[in-house]
């Protein structure tokens, strides 16, 4: 076993210094060392995207990155997306538009969608579908995920949005 390496990362605004095995995947570092289990593992070939997090503002599949590679970086995971008790518009969109069922792919899907909307604030349906090529969902058939992202895009642009029926 190779010698452990010291890394320092900021995750969701909190700084962590850890000793990690050089081969430890970022997703295992987040889940097992830091206990941030919202980032999921759905495959072993980097297809499913359940593990997407943001590293210095870029969406990455954390199963394809070693923890040592993010030394000195600032990360956001699904747990850090809501701010001051308010959901990010993409989270809100997924809730309003029934963009999730079992919820396992959802954290990665949301993180990928946030990245998309940063790069393209007004994506077409086709652009949304293509942008999600690295994220698999087995439950929804994607239609409501597309609607959720369109909802978030409109909200981020300051346009009026229509949600689901209120639950009260």
């Amino acid at each position: 076993m190779a010698e452990k390496v010291r890394i320092s990362v900021t995750v969701n605004g909190v700084q962590h210094t850890s000793e990690v095995e050089p081969r430890q995947l970022l997703v295992h570092y987040l889940r097992e060392t830091l206990g941030l289990t919202g980032t999921h593992i759905g495959c072993d070939t980097s297809q499913c995207g359940a593990c997407v997090v943001h590293v210095d503002g870029q969406a990455v599949k954390s199963c394809t990155v070693f923890a040592v590679q993010v030394d000195g970086s600032s990360l956001t995971t699904i747990e850090g997306l809501a701010k001051d008790g308010h959901y990010h518009p993409v989270q809100e969109g997924f809730w309003e538009k029934h963009g999730l069922q079992c919820g396992f792919c959802t954290p990665g899907m949301i993180m990928a969608a946030v990245d998309l909307l940063k790069k393209n604030p007004n994506p077409s349906e086709g652009e949304i579908r293509h942008a999600l090529e690295g994220n698999l969902c087995r439950c929804t058939g994607y239609q409501n995920i597309v609607l959720a992202i369109q909802y978030a895009a409109a909200k981020l642009r300051g346009e009026p949005v229509t949600g689901a029926v209120a639950d009260d």
């Binding site: 289990t37 029934h98 919820g103 293509h130 058939g141 994607y142």
Partner: protein, 794 residues
């Protein structure tokens, strides 16, 4: 009195979601116990081989490894149980042991277990276990496996045949076919699929040596059933010595119903080592060692008249069971397939013969739809073949053969329970209207002149939901020799808050929201005052779990019935409080009052408090509002509808573009339209995936060539269409809410809509049938073959 806002029928957003969208759900791999060890499995690279020798010494010497076990170590527990009564099993059901002993029967069969301090070390040590195999010839195709000279997988099963089953009347079918004006024969393959819940399967086992009790957190669709099977059958310990808990479950689609070897070896290791043990499959392990679905080879003949009446159907199916017999494998290609083979049509003579066959592949068991997609695909493809043969519009052929509204309850003569209710033609007409059928045919003709190939495919389906009645599913030879009722406990606490505990096990279906809507309306309490609990055998009354689209029709009805009992008791207590006669009481909108005097009402909270403080109750009335129901319905429910797909095939590349997908479904009364639409979307996606993309493919040596998500084509967002949904509503007479179920309908209806469209598009080439999936290569080859044959004929 002002009416309380009704929740049933509203598209309420789900209460399940806030924690899931924040990454605060608890899935199996999120569970971490103090002192927990990690297990990893040494799996066979061979499809069929004798195990000559296993040397664990190097693995055991590896730092951080706590133990390495083989199948021989675990002979003190029994093989996995199975409902072998189903499907005419010839008493030779061979089920897996915790780890293989003596031989392996498929790639991925587990042969040794490594337990280590951490996940990486366990994986490292797997590589250090040396296994010497003696490879044997393999067979992967079910029909070929029954042929003389095929490799024998289990001594107890000559010709690899485990089951032989039939339904309907062979005499009548033979006679109808012999005397028919038109007979169309086809070989139809329903290819193997891999269910692929995004969360793989796994468990965490803990053993308390002081009490002899296990706790098992598991990816389960049916924790009570797992508890029963693992204790009574595998470990031979009292059922009370195991508590099963299903946390958030990341999709199931059937795969998480069954009793797997890994639950047993993880429990066994936890007991042996005195420390908690976690085992979670990697995706490639899920593909190689958890159950697959479908995999039928079928020879079918359909007979009819030139004016479009179908008079007979004869079916022979070889159903692949895999290397062992899985938990409920026997019932899938039999009861849930053969008995509904005639679909929405009145076909006077039908016969189905099924062989369940061992092969050197992963086990096959229920996958979303489970038997019904195979049946519906078969009949709907053959209705199109028949229509083409007699030169009649496929919609018209369907109309001429539909079971009519006055025929319900309808006995199809195949040993199925009677179809509860239905009205098939309006759904077909609505779907045709939505696609603009007449215009499409014109557009199609125009396009063909330009060398563009458009196709439209119709699928009119009926399916079996609310899979339950114990008297039916429990009967030997009929189903699984098990009851399938569902339970619900409803309690109104002192503060008026309502707690419902269900035996259903939601894993994405939105059951918490749906059940809370029902209870809020029925009890007249605020929706947010209703809590739905599930998933823990310690907390919930015995229930059979979630599969077979039964959560609402069976589990939901159990909730509904418990609520009625609560209301009855509330009326009795309120009558006592108001010094009135119970028979004069009304319970409405959360209050009980004497008929005609709603101003002097007692609220449910007041009644619950009275019931709980209990110092002044009517004679003979027990304290507390707490009622349990075990609901065993008199029948299944039978949703139906018509789906239509429109495709364009690029004749040069073979690529199929799915241009439109229209679905008109009748799932009875709808509690939450948002959730029902979501279920249909996801269901349709899985059927479209079967038609166009997915294939759990074994090569002839038994190597799984689609062993991970790189090779198995689970569709992405860009590969699926926008679904256009509508519905008709024909309430079910089976249950008081008139609901049917929607979990599997989309999958059952969709593959044949797409394939019928593809084949319609290819009809100018003289192509009459194509096996799934309609990949560009397969379509392109079919077109080339057709062109070559035509050239040769010229």
């Amino acid at each position: 009195m002002a009416d309380v806002t009704k929740m049933v029928g509203k598209a309420i957003k789900r209460r399940e979601d806030p924690k899931l969208i924040q990454g605060r759900g608890t899935f199996i791999d999120d569970i971490k116990l103090p002192g927990m060890l990690h297990a990893a499995v040494v799996r066979s690279p061979y499809a069929h081989a004798k195990i000559k020798r296993i040397d664990v010494s190097r693995a055991l010497a590896h730092p951080g490894v706590v133990a390495v076990f083989t199948g021989e170590d675990m002979m003190d527990i029994n093989p996995m149980p199975a409902a072998w009564q189903a499907g005419g099993v010839k008493s030779n059901a061979v089920t897996p042991r915790a780890l293989a002993v003596g031989k392996v029967t498929h790639v991925g069969d587990g042969v040794a277990l490594v337990v280590a301090e951490d996940r990486y070390t366990a994986r490292d040590a797997v590589e250090l276990v040396e296994v010497e195999y003696e490879p044997l010839p393999a067979v992967v195709d079910a029909r070929k496996a029954t042929e003389p000279g095929a490799p024998l997988i289990h001594e107890a099963a000559p010709n690899n045949i485990c089951m032989e089953w039939e339904c309907g009347s062979k005499e009548k079918a033979d006679a109808a076919i012999a005397s028919a004006e038109v007979v169309v024969k086809e070989e139809i393959i329903n290819q193997r699929l891999i269910p692929t819940p995004m969360e793989t399967r796994g468990c965490v086992a803990r053993y308390d040596a002081a009490t002899g009790e296990f706790t098992l957190w598991m990816t389960s669709q049916a924790p009570h059933v797992h508890r029963l099977l693992l204790t009574a059958f595998v470990f031979g310990i009292p059922e009370t010595k195991l508590r099963c808990i299903a946390p958030n479950v990341g999709g199931g689609f059937g795969q998480k119903i069954f009793c797997y070897a890994d639950y047993a070896f993880t429990m066994w290791a936890a007991r042996r080592l005195g420390r908690p043990v976690k085992y979670v499959e990697e995706r490639s392990e899920n593909y190689k060692a958890s159950t697959h679905g479908r995999d039928h080879v079928t020879e079918v003949e359909i007979a009819g008249t030139r004016d479009g009446k179908v008079t007979g159907l004869r079916v022979k199916t070889w159903a692949n069971l895999g290397g062992y017999f899985s938990t409920i494998a026997g019932g899938i290609p039999t009861t849930l397939y053969g008995r509904i083979i005639t679909g929405v049509y009145k076909i006077p003579a039908a016969h189905v013969k099924v062989w369940g066959v061992y092969t050197n592949t992963a086990m096959v068991d229920a996958y979303r739809g489970a038997g019904r997609p195979e049946a519906s695909y078969l009949i709907e493809r053959m209705m199109d073949r028949f229509a083409a043969e007699i030169g009649m519009d496929p919609a018209e052929v369907r109309r001429r053969n539909f079971i009519q509204p006055q025929d319900f309850p309808y006995d199809n003569g195949l040993g199925m329970l009677p179809y509860d209710s239905g009205n098939y033609e309006p759904a077909l007409n609505k779907a045709l209207q939505m696609v603009g059928y007449e215009n499409f045919r014109k557009e199609q003709a125009e396009a063909r002149k330009q060398g563009r190939y458009l196709g439209l495919g119709i699928s009119s389906y009926v399916e079996i939901c609310g899979v339950a009645p114990s008297a039916w599913i429990g009967a030997v030879g009929q189903g699984w020799g098990a009851g399938l009722f569902e339970s619900a406990n409803v309690r109104v606490h002192l503060t008026g808050k309502v707690v419902v505990t269900t035996g259903s096990l939601p894993h994405g279906q939105g059951v918490e929201t749906t059940f809370a809507q029902i209870v809020a309306d029925e009890l007249g309490v605020p929706y947010e005052d209703v809590t739905i609990e599930w998933g823990d055998t310690l907390a919930a009354p015995f229930g059979y779990g979630t599969y077979g689209s039964r959560s609402l029709a069976v589990g939901g009805t159990a909730v509904h019935k418990s609520v009625q009992k609560i209301k009855e008791k509330a009326k009795i207590i309120a009558a006592h409080m108001l010094e009135a006669a119970p028979e004069d009481m009304v319970f409405e909108n959360g209050k009980a009052y004497v008929k005609g005097s709603p101003d002097k009402a007692k609220t449910l909270a007041e009644i619950a408090l009275q019931a709980s403080l209990a110092y002044s109750l009517p004679p003979g009335v027990e304290p507390f509002l707490d009622e349990t129901t075990y609901y065993d319905p008199p029948n299944c429910t039978f949703p139906f509808g018509t789906h239509i797909a429109i495709v364009e095939v690029d004749a040069e590349t073979g690529k199929v573009e799915l241009r439109r997908y229209v679905a008109v479904d009748d799932v009875g009364n709808i509690i939450n339209p948002l959730i029902v639409e979501g279920q249909l979307h996801g269901g349709i996606a899985q059927g479209v995936a079967q038609a166009l993309y997915e294939h759990g493919y074994y090569d002839e040596d038994g190597e799984l060539r689609s062993s991970n998500l790189l090779e198995y084509a689970v569709p992405t967002a860009a590969m699926l269409p926008r679904y256009e949904l509508d519905h008709t509503v024909t309430p079910s007479p089976v249950n008081p809410m008139g609901v049917k179920g929607a979990g599997e309908a989309g999958t059952i209806a969709s593959a044949q809509a797409v394939m019928n469209a593809v084949i319609d598009a290819l009809s100018p080439f003289g192509i009459k049938h194509l096996q799934m999936p309609a990949t560009p290569e397969r379509v392109w080859r079919a077109i080339q073959n057709s062109r070559q044959m035509r050239q040769a004929a010229d």
